[in-house]
């Protein structure tokens, strides 16, 4: 038996092998069956589930940016538009050596160092596969030069897109504003769904205040993307809702006339149509180029703009608060009439200075030797300070506050622009609350001539002029006249918002004051006569100045403005409306360091009105023909405010 085991039994081996082969074949088939069961499970029973998973893998919902609405002026001039631009884009992922590529690119297209710096900054912040714009406005020539050499530039491409542009450049830049890249903080405050596909948001001006109307709503497209998120092709496309066009009440010609009229001076001009509150012009100088922000301003330029002592980014018309100076006098007169403190024939004697009882302090008129005896109309015409000191004393701060409050002083006008300030209309209550002090009678005198604590924005001054023009009526100032659907063309007009009428007991009081304001511009000796004497329409106006440096108590005479350094000279103010009987325009001008309201700010107001009412500027600056027999340019530098002994801080 054992011996049998040791020799080979070929037959038995073959039998064994046959049975083993059979077992192996069965094993193979059962394993194949196992695979099949599993495959049926995956591919038939769970097919729907896995098909969904596969689609989730590859499909990406991607936003389609809406086309931003255009901004027009009242006559259809384009203030903000979207221009097709050739954008030079670089996909960092596809570029082997970024520095070398930039170096070679700079030989083909113009690349400023700040553009390169800005680009490198963006490359660091965005995903590697996403194209980063290097230049946003290639010229056709540059595009052609690049196309010829493009084989040399893997990962660099020129794409056509829309970019925001402002055809009038710096004109109305403060009004229209600009768009810029959305910051992290802004993302937190907006509805994310509305900004899918958008990279820019209105930052300033109308672009910011009407962001929701201008933006539109993004559409969507389904794109197929690979595992790295790179979009490959479009599977579905839904157009978004384009933003609505805005028609502003702004008149670009008047706006430009006002900017030019300011000349070298910094300052602000606001023109309002009193009949409906539409803003015709709103200028703040110096201005800036909004295009810088659209293309993404580099931090160096931005810092320089912020550090500029003239503050070009700051909208003086809304944010600048200035003492209204003598421009407040007509309103003081009106308050006096309404309260029966004065009547149009009431006379005061101006001897050049006055004192309050029990006080050693002198309150001076700007005219050193005084005006003599004058009635209300003459006091306004010649801007006598003593007359309005007396009026203010008689009224008292409480009645002044109540009356001017009706005009909206000390409150924002709620114009449809962001960042408006409200100025300050002082009151006893305010002084107690903020200064923790009682009100002193001397302070009432200063308020009477628009100095002291009282401040107003140029917009407020234009608005109170408009309300004066409307004899107490008036509308909330606004810039947007109509919204237009870019597809259907349907226009939705913005209705002017009527303000509560200022009810005076006697209608005649309005006419008394307005007549006095016409004396300012149309009568010899009026502070605005030089600028308006040859105007082809009736103008009611008032000059003013806001002091920049105070006069010491022991200084008897203010230094002449011409003797002061430019930055120490007074701000020149002028308010006016015309035609006086049926007003169509109300203007407020502030020329910083312009020194004299009548001669520096008056002509600016005149040119703005000429442009609006006559369609051309007929003003001739004083030159060859002597303006009047006196040969004196009417001036009204205000009596500077000395520090009052009662008040410990100024």
């Amino acid at each position: 038996m054992s011996r049998h085991d040791k020799i080979k039994d070929l037959y038995r081996e073959k039998q064994t092998f046959a049975s083993r082969t059979l077992v192996a074949a069965i094993a193979c088939l059962s394993m194949a069956a196992l695979l099949t069961f599993r495959l049926v499970d995956l591919q038939v029973l769970q097919q729907t589930y896995y098909a969904t998973r596969a689609d989730q893998n590859r499909m990406r919902l991607s936003a389609v940016a809406p086309v931003r609405g255009l901004i027009y002026d009242r006559s259809g001039a384009v203030l903000a538009q979207n221009t097709p631009a050739f954008v030079l884009e670089v996909v960092p992922e596809q570029v082997k050596n970024l520095s070398d590529t930039l170096e070679r690119l700079s030989k083909i297209v113009r690349l400023e160092p700040n553009e390169i710096a800005r680009f490198r900054d963006r490359v660091r912040k965005s995903p590697r596969y996403r194209g980063v714009p290097l230049r946003t406005n290639l010229s056709l020539e540059e595009v052609a030069r690049f196309e010829v050499n493009r084989y040399d530039f893997d990962g660099v491409d020129v794409t056509a897109g829309l970019t925001r542009s402002y055809p009038l450049g710096g004109t109305a830049a403060h009004v229209v504003g600009y768009v810029g890249g959305i910051t992290e903080d802004e993302y937190k405050t907006v509805a994310e769904a509305s900004y899918r596909g958008l990279s820019q948001i209105g930052k300033v001006g109308i672009e910011k205040s009407h962001e929701n109307e201008l933006r539109g709503e993004p559409g969507a497209k389904v794109i197929e993307a690979n595992a790295y998120g790179r979009p490959l092709r479009e599977l579905d496309y839904q157009q978004g809702t384009p933003g609505r066009n805005l028609v502003l009440s702004l008149d670009a010609k008047v706006q430009m006339a006002a900017e030019q009229a300011l000349g070298e001076l910094d300052g602000a001009v606001v023109a309002i149509d009193p009949r409906n509150g539409e803003v015709i012009a709103l200028v703040s100088k110096p201005g800036f180029n909004p295009q810088l922000f659209v293309e993404g301003i580099d931090s160096k330029t931005y810092k320089a703009l912020l550090a500029d002592p003239k503050r070009p980014l700051y909208n003086r018309a809304l944010q600048g608060t200035y003492p209204p100076g003598s421009t407040i006098k007509p309103f003081m007169a009106l308050a006096g009439l309404e309260s029966d403190v004065i009547d149009p024939n009431h006379r005061e004697f101006c001897g050049g200075s006055m004192q309050l009882p029990n006080s050693s302090r002198y309150f001076r008129c700007w005219r050193r030797h005084g005006h003599g005896s004058l009635d209300m109309s003459e006091a306004i015409k010649r801007s006598c300070d003593i007359y309005f000191y007396q009026t203010a004393i008689s009224l008292g701060i409480d009645r002044i506050h109540t009356f001017l409050d009706e005009f909206g002083m000390g409150r924002q006008t709620e114009i449809d622009l962001p960042l408006e300030r409200g100025g300050l209309l002082p009151s006893r209550e305010w002084k107690r609350r903020v200064r923790k002090e009682n009100w002193y009678p001397g302070e009432t005198l200063n308020v009477g001539i628009g100095q002291g604590y009282m401040t107003a924005t140029p917009l407020q001054l234009a608005q109170i002029s408009a309300r004066m023009a409307m004899r107490g009526g008036g509308f909330k100032p606004h810039l947007v006249r109509a919204l237009q659907d870019p597809i259907t063309g349907a226009t939705e007009t913005v209705e002017p918002e009527l303000l509560p009428t200022i009810e005076n007991r006697r209608k005649a009081d309005w006419e008394s004051v307005i007549n006095a304001m016409q004396e300012v511009t149309h009568a010899e000796g009026g502070t605005g006569f030089g600028a308006f004497k040859d105007a082809g329409y009736r103008v009611a106006g008032k000059s003013g100045s806001a002091q920049v440096i105070g006069l010491k108590q022991d200084e008897k005479v203010a230094p002449t403005q011409e003797s002061l350094a430019l930055h120490l000279r007074d701000h020149a103010l002028f308010i006016a409306f015309a035609p006086a009987e049926a007003p169509q325009i109300a203007v407020a001008v502030i020329a910083e360091h312009g020194a004299h309201g009548g001669s520096a700010a008056g002509p600016i107001a005149r040119q703005v009105m000429d442009q609006y009412l006559l369609g051309e500027i007929r003003y001739r600056p004083p030159g060859s023909p002597p303006p009047n027999a006196m040969g004196v340019t009417p001036v009204d530098p205000e009596m500077p405010l000395p520090p009052t002994e009662e008040s410990t801080d100024g």
């Binding site: 085991d5 040791k6 020799i7 080979k8 039994d9 070929l10 038995r12 081996e13 073959k14 064994t16 092998f17 046959a18 083993r20 082969t21 192996a24 074949a25 193979c28 088939l29 394993m31 194949a32 196992l34 695979l35 099949t36 599993r38 495959l39 049926v40 995956l42 591919q43 038939v44 769970q46 097919q47 589930y49 896995y50 098909a51 998973r53 596969a54 689609d55 893998n57 590859r58 197929e224 993307a225 690979n226 595992a227 790295y228 490959l232």
Partner: protein, 378 residues
């Protein structure tokens, strides 16, 4: 007249069939058609899986031609020659494996390549052929069913190269080498007690084995048990693979229309996971066809083994055929989530893999067995 004698009395010899013509080249027509057919399916899938890369298809085709050349060459040698060189081949391969461990190149954390300057190869590929040759040759000289002593010697023969490859580490290949030797022993008549005993022993040793595994191997096993637990990490392969296969459905998305591989969601889509691409694009129907081709190859191999004329040839042919099936099973099982991820390509279809040449050389041996039949036998 006895009709059986008719051919003998015929004046002319019968016309040689196509099969006979190939037989004279020592090629098995059936096997050749099945192998070339499967490889062609592979090239077509590869074109899609590689993202329409014609250069990859061409390079794969070149590798296929080289493999077919090796197969033809291998088919020319007689089974007796194989039996004679088997011990030497085994010995040299083992030495090369040892050298690999001592001098081999490190690539991806494993030491698999041996570089002689003029040639660079994986000795484990030689062992895939040397192992069944050596075991079959050894058992051929022993009375079968194998005695206890024979079994022990055989197990030692199997264990040494398996261990050498496993510590490289290359778990997939070592399993295939183990399988090749084991199948030869199985066909030699290894008692079922031994087989079930071995399975039991492995199950018992599993916890010990677990502690000896490399981290990435352990991670693969964990991932296999719960792929969704780490969908972006190691479970990503298997999850994306299942999505590809499942989304293919019954009829598939159509050739070149699969999204998983084209959009790079499926890693290794043209190598180890090419079966997922195939399943996605051609669906269950296509998968059944491919599985049918593989089963036909294995069946033809077992048929050759069954018809072989001596024990060595039977054991060799049987072991080679079953090893081929194990390749298919491990790869498909891994891609559809039945088995942990191990680096085993889908034979004849996956891109690259030096395994294609060695595998086709193995099929050359099968053809040699089929075509070098002695007329006197049977």
């Amino acid at each position: 007249m006895n009709p059986l004698l008719t051919p003998l009395t015929s004046s002319r010899p019968p016309e040689p069939s196509l099969s006979d013509w190939f037989g004279r080249l020592h090629l098995d027509l059936w096997m050749l058609v099945l192998l070339v057919g499967t490889a062609c399916v592979g090239l077509v899938v590869l074109y899609s899986a590689s993202g329409h890369s014609m250069p990859q298809v061409v390079s794969q085709a070149e590798r296929l031609l080289l493999g077919l050349g090796m197969m033809t060459l291998a088919a020319q040698a007689t089974p007796e020659m194989y039996r004679a060189i088997a011990p030497w081949f085994y010995g040299v391969s083992t030495v090369l494996l040892v050298l690999t461990l001592l001098l081999g190149d490190h690539a991806k954390g494993a030491q698999r390549w041996l570089d002689f300057g003029f040639i660079r190869f994986q000795p484990a590929e030689f062992m895939k052929l040397a192992m069944p040759l050596a075991v079959a040759s050894y058992l051929h000289g022993q009375p079968l069913p194998p005695s206890f002593k024979t079994i022990l010697s055989t197990l030692a023969m199997i264990a040494v190269p398996t261990g050498l490859v496993a510590v490289q580490p290359d778990l997939g290949t070592s399993m295939l080498i183990l399988a090749a030797g084991g199948f030869a022993l199985y066909f030699g008549g290894l008692g079922y007690r031994w087989i079930f005993g071995a399975i039991g022993a492995v199950a018992a040793a599993a916890p010990v084995l677990w502690t000896r595994l490399h981290d990435y191997q352990r991670q693969r096993v964990l991932t296999f048990l719960d792929p969704e637990s780490d969908p972006l990490g190691t479970g990503y392969h298997i999850t994306q693979s299942k999505i590809a296969i499942g989304s293919g459905g019954l009829f598939g998305k159509g050739w070149l229309n699969g999204t998983q591989a084209k959009l790079d969601f499926l890693p290794e889509s043209h190598t180890d996971f090419i079966f997922a691409v195939y399943s996605e694009e051609l669906g269950l129907m296509g998968v059944m066809f491919l599985l049918g081709l593989y089963l036909a190859i294995v069946g033809r191999g077992l048929y050759i083994a069954f018809r072989a004329q001596d024990t060595f040839q039977r054991l060799l042919a049987g072991a080679l055929s079953l090893t081929f099936f194990v390749y298919v099973f491990i790869n498909m099982g891994m891609v559809i989530g039945l088995l942990p991820v191990v680096g085993v390509p889908l034979p004849l279809v996956s891109y690259g893999g030096t395994s294609m040449v060695s595998m086709l050389a193995g099929f050359g041996m099968l053809m040699s067995i089929q075509t070098h039949r002695k007329l006197l036998a049977s």
